[in-house]
């Protein structure tokens, strides 16, 4: 038994070798002392079970303590060696790092999400509706007169008798008004369709975001306030906006909102066709006929609605000159916007 204790003491001496060992020597030491077959300490530990019970405890205690000390020393020396190798002078630290693929949302999705988030801050939730829609919801419940030139701007694809691919997200106004009681405060993002062939600024399919607010006492001032707040949050806090008359069958009065061109700041440039302004959205007070069509009392309730095109807004903000780039899915285009940037 004392032999074993002596051997353990001798082994403990060797702990001092560890901090000086180089990589090769460290491997050898680990094998000599803790190796599974030939390790000196392993042998002693293996002999412990065959000792007298009282010796077993004494020797076992010392042996296990020494094993832990060696393990700690080996680990510490390994870390030291690894650090040293990294600090060595022949590393070229300009070599590129190891990367993973960067995923990212489509630019149009990012802009839609950003717009919806701003409106969420202004108290709006989001609503949706189907893309194949009845003519009634798409046109007539929205107060489009039958056989009226107002329909010309809404040239639609037909997919069934009286069923069109919605030409705007406005039919979701009807669905929302019919399904929920006021107060209503929603934005409605979604894909819409018009029979316009592709060109740099037109696409037969595009994204739209609609907004609808209906409650007692909602006024034109509230419309201006919410949309101005939106513009200042989306663009810059000092953005100038203007409201001017427009025509939509489902709003009265109707207004177009322009913001000062973000590129030329109003002095005129090709992007804003020298006007100094960018058309951002159409809006207006909900036409009483729309409320009546949905069974909402138009004497008691008033409201406002608006609609905007995220593609066009994205094109203005990011300087993308051709709407077709949004459909090409060239990864060299998509990756430009993949990095989180707001």
């Amino acid at each position: 038994m004392s032999d074993l204790l002596a051997a353990l003491n001798a082994l403990r001496e060797r702990l001092t070798e560890v901090p000086q060992a180089d990589e090769r020597r460290l491997r050898e030491l680990k094998t000599e002392i803790l190796g599974r077959k030939a390790g000196a300490l392993t042998h002693i530990l293996a002999a412990v079970p065959s000792l007298e019970p009282k010796d077993r405890k004494a020797v076992g205690g010392v042996a296990n303590a020494l094993k832990r000390d060696f393990e700690t020393a080996f680990a510490a020396r390994e870390r030291e060696l690894k650090r040293a190798s990294v600090a060595a002078g022949d590393l070229d630290l300009t070599m590129p790092g190891r990367a993973g693929w960067q995923g990212g949302l489509h630019l149009v999705t990012q802009v839609v999400d950003e717009i919806c988030e701003i409106f969420r801050e202004l108290g709006f939730t989001r609503a949706v509706g189907p893309e194949a829609e009845s003519e009634r919801n798409n046109f007539y419940a929205l107060n489009f007169p039958h056989d009226h030139p107002a329909l010309d701007a809404q040239d639609s694809f037909y997919v069934g008798d009286g069923v069109v691919l919605r030409t705007h997200t406005s039919p979701v106004q009807i669905r929302t008004l019919e399904a929920y009681p006021p107060p209503i405060r929603v934005v409605i993002p979604g894909q819409v369709y018009r029979r316009d062939p592709f060109d740099p600024s037109h696409s037969p399919v595009f994204e739209q975001i609609e907004g609808l607010v209906v409650d007692e006492g909602v006024t034109f001032v509230d419309l201006k306030a919410a949309l101005t707040a939106f513009a200042r949050r989306f663009f810059t806090s000092d953005t100038t906006v203007r409201f001017r008359p427009s025509y939509f069958p489902f709003t009265e009065p109707s207004a177009e909102m322009d913001v000062r061109c973000q590129i030329c700041k109003g002095s005129g440039c090709p992007t804003c066709k020298q006007s100094g302004w960018m058309e951002i959205l159409g809006s207006g007070m909900v036409h009483p006929a729309v409320l009546d069509n949905c069974g909402v009392d138009s004497e008691r309730y008033t409201g406002y609605a608006f609609g905007m095109g995220p593609e066009r807004i994205a094109m203005n903000r990011y300087g993308v000159s051709d709407i077709r780039l949004f459909w090409e899915d060239d990864v060299r285009f998509l990756s430009q916007f993949a990095r989180p940037h707001r």
Binding site: P96, A99, R126, V159, V163, Q191, K273, D330, A338
Partner: protein
Amino acid sequence: MIVSRRWLEALLGRSLVAREVAERLTMTCAAVEAVVPVHQDLGDVLVGQVLETKPHPNADRLTLCLVDAGGVGGPLEVVCGAPNVQAGRKYPFAPVGATLPGGVKLERRKIRGVESNGMLLSARELGLGPDHAGILELDTPAAPGTRFLDAVPVADDQLVLDVPANRPDLLCHKGVAREVAAVLGGTVKLPEIPGGKAVGRSGGPSDRPAVRQSDRGVVDGVEIRLEDPEGCPRYIAAVIRGVRVGKSPEWLAARLAAVGQRAINNVVDATNYVLFELNQPLHAFDLARLRGPAVVIRRAKSNEPITTLDGVARKLTAEMTAICDAERPTIVAGVMGSAESEVSEKTTDLVLECAYFQPTRIRRTRRALGLTSESSYRFERGIDLLGMPDAMRRAIDLIVAVAGGELREAPLDLWPKPEQSRSVFLRPARVSHLLGVEVPRGDIERVLSAIGFVAAPKDERLAVQVPGWRPDVTREADLIEEVARLRGYDVLPDDLRPYRPGTVPDAPALRARSRVRDQLVRAGMLEARTLPLGAPDGPDAVEIRNPLSAEHAHLRARLLPGLVRRVEYNWAGTVRDLRLFEVGTVFKRGKGAPEEWTSVAGVLTGAQRPLHWSAKVPDMDLWDLKYHFELAVQVASPGALVQPLPTGVGWQAVVGEQRVGWAGPLEADAPRWAGALFGFEVRLSEVAPARPAYRPLPATPSVVRDVALVLPGGVTAAAVGEALRRAGGTLLESLEVFDEYRGPKLKGGERGVAWRLTFRDPARTLREAEVDQVIMTALKALEEELDVRRRES
């Protein structure tokens, strides 16, 4: 609508600044899209008088002219090549240093040895017409040296007005002038007709004729029968005899040119003038070619033929209104006339039509015929039913002034069911209620009367009489808009006020879309958007009845085919590493409306990671596909199981019996250098995945054991894993496959698979022997159930 600034000035009797007009109209009425200067590039041109001419010493065709251009240095010597130059006459003259249209600056130069101190100009050089045969003779009292633009008022601005579909009144200069007057001041008055003899002034036969509540009558020997009062509620006809059809006077041609219209002949030009001045389309036809002579306004017969003015033979339908003579149609009412009834050089007597056609009838007719004209555009939007007699009178005055002829009998005004002007009630309090600011009653009345409404108090309300040119105003809200826009939207405040939260919950469908997008973006995929229109991609594909093109005639039923096309597009750009996904709507044929739902799809090809110098990067393979598929299924269809396809290579996601997702290798038109292409598609469920439950972190150590097994053919890793889990019981915390071996060390059909098993008891430290015991049990079970044994190393 092109609006001429000068025409507006003539109507308002005041001068206008085009930019200011554009700005005010945009802010109070309708957007002016552009202001185009016309002939303003002639500012350097002067009126020059030729005092003396003599032949050029070195050239037969050139003349030396002594020109008085008002300069202090006295007359200038100018070389001129025009054959029509004459001493004593005045011509446009450009002095040295003048900038000419096109931006050329005139320099002093020698022409055949003689210095020329300027240039006498032709109409073409001024941009005023095609004539280049000689210099432009000026018939002006202006003194030499007067600015050309002051002597000959051709400088103008065109305002391009974007007229909304509900504002037909803005399709003419009088209507626009009315709006300009309301915001900038002025009174609208029709300008005098140059050389007009005021035929239509009081006492003349063209003064307001009596309305006949009848559907027939005779005017100056021409029988008029209104047989379709539904399609044509009101019809006014006049006969003018003894006209001389010819060229229009300069002023009339210039007016039309200012709005981009070509002069045709004095009669047609006069009717066009009234169109652009008063928004009343008129039609003049040759009385000599009118059988009867009669004008019959009736429904066309089915398949009745007519050759319209554009030379196309067309067939009418019984839904259309035709203007006929005693035998056959001469005009498609409100749309276009026929060549044979048209006014020509030989015409001496004409019938002038001033009609109101029912807007929806016109719209259907022009759509059915695919034929749009200035007239149909206006009738479709609704002209001023009450202003027709004034327009007729104006037209007669004009025609008589520019083409001669006489009106022997007052026009015939057939209006079987005359209408009074409409009144709409307005509650002044409602204006404030809707606009959110106090609007005084006086303001309301002033604003409305400025644009021709007549407001009279009635109880607490205003009874507002709507002028005939505003068919769009039918209810209170319409009047409130008039008040709001003319006061200006910009005067309203824009302060946020408290609001009540809405009752509509945030849409679960959009939350589901966001979840799966975020999940796939985190996995390094780029979101794509593919066109939902394309070729049919399945037997249930929804067909578009009126597609833009044959290749875009169906709605997609799946996203993958579209994504594969985008991969090919990127390959064409020699991009090899692609990871695209899309979340989008797909459709299939349903009962009535198509069925639609949201789908999630992804495609993968190329390197697993971006290229790096430290190691070769392998291409993505089936196992990358399986990982991405499982990521998508976890959030897109919570609870769905991913399992191998019953046949073939790939996986499916199933909920119960229903397959909700698919993943596998894809076929594509791939270049040689492309990697293998994989894809998946899952139906998106709105159900959110279960909220993660917290499990206390382990406080006891684990025991890790690696077990290498030999699996006979047909035994799956899943089956072995299942057996291991069963045998491991609660102590087996996790198990992972970390190696597979196939090769000569094993018998044919066999493979080696190694698992790493982690055991733990949360309550106490496990003993090695316990773990050995569990593994022994597991191995025994594996051998008995699956013929799987431990692999000897």
